[in-house]
Symmetry: C2
Subunit: 347 residues, 2 copies
DNA sequence: CTGAAAGCGCTTACAG
DNA sequence: CTGAAAGCGCTTACAG
């Protein structure tokens, strides 16, 4: 293992001016003011043992007077827990991830945890998990990256839940919808509407959910006795609007252009619609588009986006609950949440 | 001050199974394996003092063999710094905030800091600042809430930067565009296009930026010799699409409806456009709409949104740099970043 | 260049 | 109910 880099902040901080308003009070100061031992102060603060009412009163008064708060690092050093959990997202710009993070945040906060956010753009040496900073992890990043650290070595065994992005049989608890089934539902809907030439706009295949949704797309076509045409499958670079536009254009110049497209993210779907319109096509008349996620924008955009709704907040909340259960020593089962097809105007 | 609540996680964590794969190695284990003192191990890890090359080699080998990483809490207890900074956002769902967070994250990560995310929905007792968990704060929350804790008491004096949301003369460093000027530019543009009946859709006034933008709106009208009509000013509840739709409808039923509206957020502008269309109005022909922020969606939405572009990533990055400077004891000046009017199709 | 020891700020058996 | 003391895992003067 390479030498861990020095922590640049240490020296920096040492050079900072000493705390304005005086150094923060220590538990010793509170004890002195209240005329008790630090053990007693600790007991009233944590309600860990009965303390004489009168004594408690003096301690509380001292705490209030000094504005004392326990040093979280000393506590964590002893307890081995930080009340911090790591949330790894591939990209904050996608509203899908933002919604999930909000779901996680609200239940974690209720349980006294703070969340550390890591944008897994794979650009830094920082690895809070490896550093044992956080008590657990909820990851939305590529499943295949979830078990190795920044340096490629295997991670320590940390309480972990995969959210939305998971691999079956990886014995890692997850919370997700059934991506393959949801994709089948989307394509089946298009089939029911009479479409026979249905294209797929998908994302990089290192996302397991991209593979799973692609599988659903293929399965639906095959069951309908339709071929899976390579020319009809386009892989977008990311999930930005522009990524969707970039790959959509090519579909139109095919000898037999599709009459419908299923995009694995609303952002891709919207980007595709933009591209189709720029090319003079009408949606859904010339080409129907179905998205995935049901981000808030899906109903605001025009035409309203027909899409697979994922219960985003619930995915986040359930992930948090699963992690919390692990933190208390349980081995809770993974959860598959329901999805739903929302029909609007785009397809 | 009220008694701090007990930390629920402690007991929970205590009940958890002991670390699978064995407890994490301590520095003592490394020292024993390498046949040196813990002081020496510490020195090679931190490169804080010269260490004999041969000795260093043994230590590094031991570190590698044990997969050792320093316990961050022990370090923080000594240094008084956590390499953690708090980012307070009102709402992750708004892409504006998401972009800024990404800007902050990228520079902070490069400097070895992790970010703790707090969604200031004002719903929890958690207060990492007050708890001295983080080394500093970047806040996008209401300026008037930035200086008091969850319990209403004044916060400790912590390195702090206000991002986008700030109050002049509050002697708190900030990074922002000039909201009033930007709003004036937007309204002036509408004036130049011949509009005389220009409405404002703004956000709750506890945002200083909402007040500042409103001021810009009023100033532009007054300079043009136009009255500021209360009926033309609508305050949205939040900044969701729906909030924009909710207040936009009322504008249409006025005896003299506006011919243009300036909304203080792209999300509000898009919500308003939705409402106008549902009422049968064409944008921009019947009513022009100018937004604010230039979120990615602004160019994807149809009609393309004319809006004030804020340099979102840069706002985040500059905030991070300002905080970093404070952390090294500097007193860097606030920064006002440039904005720009982006003309598209909505107005 | 290296080590023994103190100390960061807490919590928790152990006594009483 | 309360206190003295050990200890969590590190870093850093202080000696050598």
């Amino acid at each position: 293992m390479p030498n861990p880099p020095p922590r640049p902040g240490r020296q920096a901080r040492a050079a900072a001016p000493s705390e304005p308003g005086g150094a923060a009070a220590s538990i010793a100061a509170v004890a002195a003011l209240a005329g008790v031992s630090t053990a007693t102060v600790s007991r009233v603060l944590n309600q860990s043992k009965p303390v004489n009412a009168e004594t408690r009163g003096r301690v509380e008064a001292a705490v209030a007077q000094l504005g004392y708060r326990a040093n979280p690092f000393a506590r964590s050093l002893i307890s081995g827990a930080s009340q911090l959990i790591l949330v790894v997202v591939p990209d904050m710009a996608n509203p899908f991830f933002a919604e999930i993070v909000q779901g996680i945040e609200s239940v974690m906060r209720r349980h006294g945890y703070n969340i550390v956010l890591s944008v897994a753009s794979g650009n830094g040496p920082l690895d809070p998990v490896y550093d044992r900073l956080t008590d657990g992890v909820i990851s939305l990043a590529h499943a295949h990256s979830q078990r190795s650290g920044a340096d490629g070595t295997a991670r320590r065994d940390v309480p972990w839940v995969a959210c939305s992005e998971f691999m079956t049989g990886a014995d890692m608890p997850y919370v997700s919808i059934d991506h393959a089934q949801a994709a089948m539902d989307a394509v089946q809907y298009l089939l029911n509407r009479g479409h026979r030439r249905i294209a797929l706009i998908t994302a990089e295949e290192d996302y397991a959910w991209a593979q799973q949704r692609r599988l659903g797309y293929e399965t639906a076509l095959q069951r309908a006795g339709l071929p899976v045409l390579p020319a009809y499958v386009r892989v977008a670079r990311g999930t930005d609007y522009g990524d969707g536009s970039d790959v959509a254009g090519g579909l139109l110049t095919l000898p037999e252009p599709p009459t419908a497209v299923f995009a694995v993210a609303d952002t891709l779907a919207i980007g595709a619609i933009k591209a189709f319109r720029r090319a003079g096509r009408r949606v859904p008349d010339d080409i129907a588009v179905v998205g995935f996620d049901n981000v808030p924008l899906a109903q605001v955009f025009e035409p309203g986006l027909t899409t697979i709704a994922q219960p985003m907040r619930e995915l986040g909340a359930a992930s948090a609950e699963l992690l919390l259960a692990q933190l208390t020593g349980e081995q809770p089962p993974s959860r598959v949440l329901p999805h739903a097809l929302v029909v609007r105007d785009s397809g």
